[in-house]
Symmetry: C2
Subunit: 496 residues, 2 copies
């Protein structure tokens, strides 16, 4: 086929600016964005590989391919890179994350990438007590599980069972687990109900499910949940519920100084004019000699395509030929739920002086899960709530003022009345993001993994699949995005 074999730097200066230097500023003002778009070169007509999606996974894919000498064009629909990873600059200039933020041990690939790119991490603040609020009372605790007598036995046994069962789920083939059919016919909710004495135990588990999936226990297959737990490890350390749910030494162990979006921004800067934004892909047509990708900024003809976009966006593309039926089924059944991240900003992290960590769990209200989201230098104090699943449905459609009040009351319930009076209040609702269409981490209901799961990484002719959903460790996380990008690039490079 007719594709050029030029390298990373063949595009002109303006393209380079648009893809790299300008984007690296993180938050472009609207006029700057417009100028960049207006000044942009046309898309190159051909490339060895087109990568669809400029989140971490697509950027890693593009970089690996470019490093191997392939000509690459990366198309993203947004006017920025990072996808579900997004920095937000506060009034005082501090940066917090509005999307994927936390990293932790065994997340080797994102940590290695960030280190290479010069983006340091810092430990999430954990000193002090956590707060558990239930049934109108609060208790202080340390660690992951509140020592509520009504649920502690349930929770202890449940955690043992979850880890034991997750240990039987192969991370690269959960559909082949010995009890896959049985576990995939049951929801997390039904399984917890049948295996606990106290209904509140499920409420506690929602504090994991809602922030993770933007969904509740009745939405998620037990097998898929066990796979998520199995995935929260690496090649030498098996996943565990403790790892998946904990702050210190767990999935929320650390954050990036300056915000996680520095990682995709640095990748984009390296890639220069490879990265083309505001180029929503509308159609992907392949034939015997190549693939034609049609975007809002024109067409690119390529030898291979790597798609690194969330499932609801992939199924909205006009595919010719159609996606294979089993992949179509799989993608439509990987659900992005309902989730917003809400941050309240205070002059300082006042809760720390009161001996509180800023972490907490509540069984009611708008704030079910709370973290200290202050920047590394604690120049301001920030509390973070995940409002997900049924909690999103309760609050997500309220007028902003009402929701703000409910969230601040939720924070106050956990760290005291000072929380009612923030200097800044920030919402990022992934449910309403045109180019994500739901909570950042996909989940599957019953029947999906066993019937369609095996399709997840199967190439479709000249089209390969990246994106954190296709990872075998930390799927749904930034680490999974890196791993998926590396795997997809290797797959393409292995083609003649």
């Amino acid at each position: 086929m007719d594709v050029s074999s030029s390298n990373l730097t063949r595009r002109g200066l303006l393209g380079g600016l648009a893809g790299g230097a300008l984007l690296a500023s993180g938050a472009l003002s609207a006029p700057v964005r417009a100028a960049a778009a207006g000044a942009r070169d046309p898309l190159p007509g051909t490339a060895d590989v087109v990568v669809v999606g400029g989140g971490i996974s697509g950027l890693v894919t593009a970089r690996e391919l470019a490093r191997a000498g392939r000509s690459v064009v990366l198309l993203d629909a947004r006017d920025r890179v990072g996808g579900r990873v997004l920095n937000h600059t506060l009034a005082n200039g501090s940066v917090i994350e509005a999307g994927g933020a936390f990293v932790g041990p065994t997340q080797d690939r994102i940590l290695a990438l960030a280190a290479e790119l010069g983006v340091p991490t810092f430990k999430e603040h954990v000193a002090g007590d956590n707060i558990f609020a239930a049934n109108g009372r609060t208790m202080r605790y340390q660690g992951t599980v509140p020592p509520d007598l009504a649920i502690v036995v349930d929770a202890f046994v449940l955690q043992l069972r979850i880890d034991w069962m997750a240990g039987q789920v192969p991370v690269d083939a959960p559909w082949s687990a010995p009890h896959a059919a049985e576990w995939d016919a049951v929801t997390v909710q039904e399984w917890v109900r049948a295996n606990t004495f106290n209904r509140d135990t499920l409420t506690l588990l929602q504090s994991f499910l809602q922030p993770t999936y933007g969904s509740d226990g009745e939405d998620v297959s037990l097998l898929f949940f066990l796979w998520t737990i199995a995935c929260s490890g690496n090649e030498t350390t098996p996943g565990s519920f403790e790892r998946a749910s904990s702050t210190a030494n767990g999935a929320q162990d650390s954050r990036f100084v300056g915000g996680s979006q520095l990682v995709p921004l640095a990748l984009a800067r390296q890639l220069g004019a490879v990265v083309q934004t505001e180029a929503a892909v509308r159609r992907i047509a392949q034939d015997d000699t190549g693939v034609t990708v049609t975007s809002d900024r024109g067409q690119v003809r390529a030898g291979r395509v790597v798609v690194a976009a969330p499932p609801p966006l992939v199924t909205a593309i006009d595919w010719d030929p159609l996606l294979p039926p089993l992949r179509q089924q799989l993608l439509t059944r990987l659900h992005l739920g309902t989730l917003m991240k809400v941050d309240a900003v205070y002059p300082s992290p006042f809760w720390r002086a009161a001996g509180l960590s800023g972490s907490g769990i509540a069984t009611s209200g708008a704030v079910r899960t709370c973290f200290d989201n202050s920047p590394a230098d604690a120049a301001v104090g920030v509390l973070l709530a995940f409002v997900g699943g049924s909690t999103w449905r309760e609050y997500g459609n309220l007028p902003l003022a009402q929701r703000r009040t409910a969230v601040l009351q939720g924070f106050a319930q956990l760290v005291g009345p000072q929380a009612l009076d923030p200097v800044e209040y920030v919402e990022q609702d992934w449910t309403r993001e045109r180019w994500t269409k739901g909570s950042p981490v996909a989940s599957a209901g019953t029947g999906t993994t066993t019937a369609y799961g095996a399709q997840i990484r199967v190439p479709f002719g000249r089209v390969h699949w990246a994106g954190t959903e296709t990872a075998t460790y930390w799927a749904g996380f930034m680490d999974g995005a890196v791993r998926a990008g590396e795997r997809a690039a290797a797959e393409v490079l292995a083609q003649r």
Copy 2:
């Protein structure tokens, strides 16, 4: 807003031919289709209402609106009308259905419509014995449930329980059933497993689930299934499993002489130039004064839009503003499964002479559910199999010759070795239909109905919802399509 108020007949002769007379021929040859497309008028720039989707539901909507004096443009992506209802002409000239086909008592609206349009019905052939094939042996039986001693008690009790529970599910608000949360957290599979002694009972129930939903018991929420049963009735006769699953006096009681697509074809003929085919809708943008619908054949500006398309097609449209989050969630969680209809044609319905009905159920192989699909005059004999859900996954991707052999062996197991030698073999795989994207009847997994179900008929600004999925009786069926179209049209007409 600026919409014209012209009537049904304002478009020119060629448009009328394309929308009516030509389509009425049923199966257009490729050259005829091309000529029709080439000769077509441009789309009108404005209309009172644009209807998206030319299945029965959209056509009924358009007709009701046009009758009330509204100017209407109906856009369909295909080169034909009928959507999931499609005739197929056999070599001898007989017509069978490749999509929705059966009608029965309480399906009042489709029966009234067909009668008005002059499309008569005839009774599905039921004389003779049905065959049940399980574990290498076959038995003859009459009625719906095979008298297999291993399952008959289970099946009897299960049916009583299903009807009793379905009786508690309001057809227009299943999410408000007394036990909605509990029933929506459990799959049909898990519930049957927990409430039966013999595993084969579930296998038997698959013979209902696979043809209906193109899905299996682990894919479908118990609450959604019970709603389907509740819906299999009308305003005066409650639904029942017997009604939903039976041939005589049930959902498969009758068929249309000349094929069910005669109904949408007759509607399209009445509507004339209102109906515009090969006009896939790509974008729907609404503002304070109207809605702009962008199709492959240009834009139409309207005061209101009624969308009557399957859920996976609706979410693939570029919506501006975005679909409300709860509707986006609902539509992505209404799954069209995997299903093909397969017909084998013989010189005559030879099984009838052997005292067989041609109906049967098997617990293994490619043919799990079989019907006599011979035309009204029995000019040829036709056997019909639904290959759905996990059975589709087993056979749907095989080479045609292998699948053909498996299907014919399946027929032979039920009606004898003569079935191995058909004169014609016809497949219609809805799983691979670009403009359906799955089995004709949607189903919902756990958690969907309670969380998102209430959105099903809620208008989105100037956009209203038709389509059989929005019906409150016989949702998923042709009758539901008519009911939904009538309801949506009334909704639009009730606007000032």
